[in-house]
């Protein structure tokens, strides 16, 4: 018997009809019944193992946070205290820097302008014979965003590649259609594709910045700023500091 259908049954993912027919089958087929019992037990065990692992992960987070909040004790080595001094100096510099930046008070428009660089589309590496995509690339790169929008909207109907959507979002920003841009960047985020996720957060943040919705802007920059593995991590961090 197929493990997969048992999986779907046990995870309660079978459509009603199939579920009913599977249950009838179960009534009549003893071998299938024991198969299901074994698999249910296996899934329970995996669930149990998952919990144990998650619990131990949480326990280590607890320890980590506890240590962070306990002041360094005197028994620590001098290297540690040296670190603290260096850190203090770094914080001092950072604070002074922030104060300096605050005195500069760049407006949100300035910040937007300083940070917004249109994403470079490279659509044709896979199918270089594709004329439509070449045209889109050229029009977009030339900065003719109104025309790019027309082409991109059409192209997306046939091929909803995230890169096309990103290009469309940016073209909307460039033609002052922030609301449309926001919708499309959010759509990209919904796709959960981590190749474009960071870009989407970055441009979404910038679009919010442009429309002066600072709280929303910060939310997206924060996601990038708190994870050093993400694209635009440094820029987001810097921007957040400037926004404070």
């Amino acid at each position: 018997m197929n493990d997969n259908i048992i999986d779907l049954y046990l995870l309660d993912l079978l459509p009603e009809e199939e579920k009913a027919s599977f249950e009838t089958q179960l009534q009549n087929d003893e071998a299938l019944r024991s198969e299901v019992i074994i698999q249910r037990e296996a899934l329970r065990d995996i669930e149990g193992i998952g919990r144990i692992e998650l619990k131990s992960k949480l326990q280590s987070i607890h320890q980590e946070i506890k240590q962070d909040s306990t002041p360094a004790s005197s028994s620590n080595t001098s290297i540690r205290s040296l670190f603290v001094k260096i850190a203090a100096a770094a914080i001092f510099v950072a604070v002074m820097g922030t104060i300096w930046l605050m005195n500069q008070t760049p407006s949100t428009e300035d910040l937007f302008a300083q940070n917004f660089e249109p994403y470079e589309l490279s659509l044709t590496d896979r199918s270089s014979s594709d004329n439509t995509l070449t045209t889109i690339e050229e029009v977009y790169a030339s900065g003719n965003y109104n025309e790019a929008i027309l082409l991109l909207e059409k192209a997306i109907q046939q091929d909803n590649r995230l890169e096309l959507m990103l290009g469309l979002g940016i073209s909307y920003v460039k033609t002052d259609q922030s609301a449309k841009a926001i919708t499309i960047f959010k759509q990209i985020l919904k796709e959960d594709n981590f190749n474009y996720e960071d870009e989407a957060h970055w441009y979404l943040g910038l679009t919010y910045l442009k429309s002066n919705e600072l709280k929303n802007a910060r939310n997206h920059f924060n996601i990038l700023a708190t994870d050093s593995n993400r694209d635009h991590h440094k820029e987001a961090k810097k921007l957040l500091a400037q926004l404070k």
């Binding site: 493990d3 997969n4 698999q39 692992e53 994870d227």
Partner: protein, 192 residues
């Protein structure tokens, strides 16, 4: 660090592992103090608070994996309610319960979701099982069944060339596990 919004936390809990860990940490920093103060007001220690809070996060994590789950309150209110129930159960078990001093915000939690970790015997059995199925199998099975990740995501994390490799690996690991499970005394009991 600025507090994350509920949406951000949920988004990251469903995402890749690094982001998940970050979101867990965020939840911890943002919400543990509230739970700690609640437990301490109700005859508990900081360790009790940590234990209860961690179990509540597990409940929450398992809930949000489900497609049909909609969070009807804030994460804060949700966790607070789960902690309240878990702590009440524990106090009842120790026959220490009177009534709880609670903040006036809680929602009704499905009591089925509140049994978090099993007995020590069961956990010991699971630990043994865990070490005998092998590291990769354990990872794949947990990613698929516990974290409910898509095959594509699993392939990526495990460095498999294609989604199909992940599917095959999951199937063969499940077969292996089922063979072991079939031999367990508990199962012989169930199959009688």
């Amino acid at each position: 660090m600025k507090d994350w919004s509920d949406d951000e936390i949920i988004f990251c809990l469903k995402g890749e592992s690094e982001k998940r860990d970050l979101a867990l940490k965020q939840m911890y920093t943002q919400l543990f103090p509230i739970i700690k103060s609640f437990i301490q007001k109700n005859n508990g220690s900081e360790d009790d608070a940590a234990d209860i809070f961690q179990d509540a996060i597990i409940v929450f994590y398992e809930k949000i994996r489900l497609k049909e789950f909609k969070l009807s309150s804030s994460i804060r209110t949700y966790l607070y309610s789960v902690c309240k129930h878990l702590w009440l159960n524990k106090l009842r078990a120790q026959k220490k319960v009177t009534s709880l001093t609670v903040e006036n915000e809680s929602i009704i939690v499905d009591p089925m979701s509140l049994k978090v970790l099993g007995s020590e015997d069961r956990n010991e059995y699971l630990r043994q099982l865990m070490s005998s199925i092998g590291g990769d199998c354990k990872k794949v099975l947990i990613y698929y069944y516990y974290d409910r990740l898509k095959m594509k995501e699993i392939a990526l994390r495990m460095n498999f060339a294609t989604e199909q490799v992940a599917k095959n690996k999951k199937s063969s690991c499940l077969k292996k596990l089922k063979l072991m499970v079939a031999k367990s005394p508990r199962l012989k009991e169930l199959l009688k």
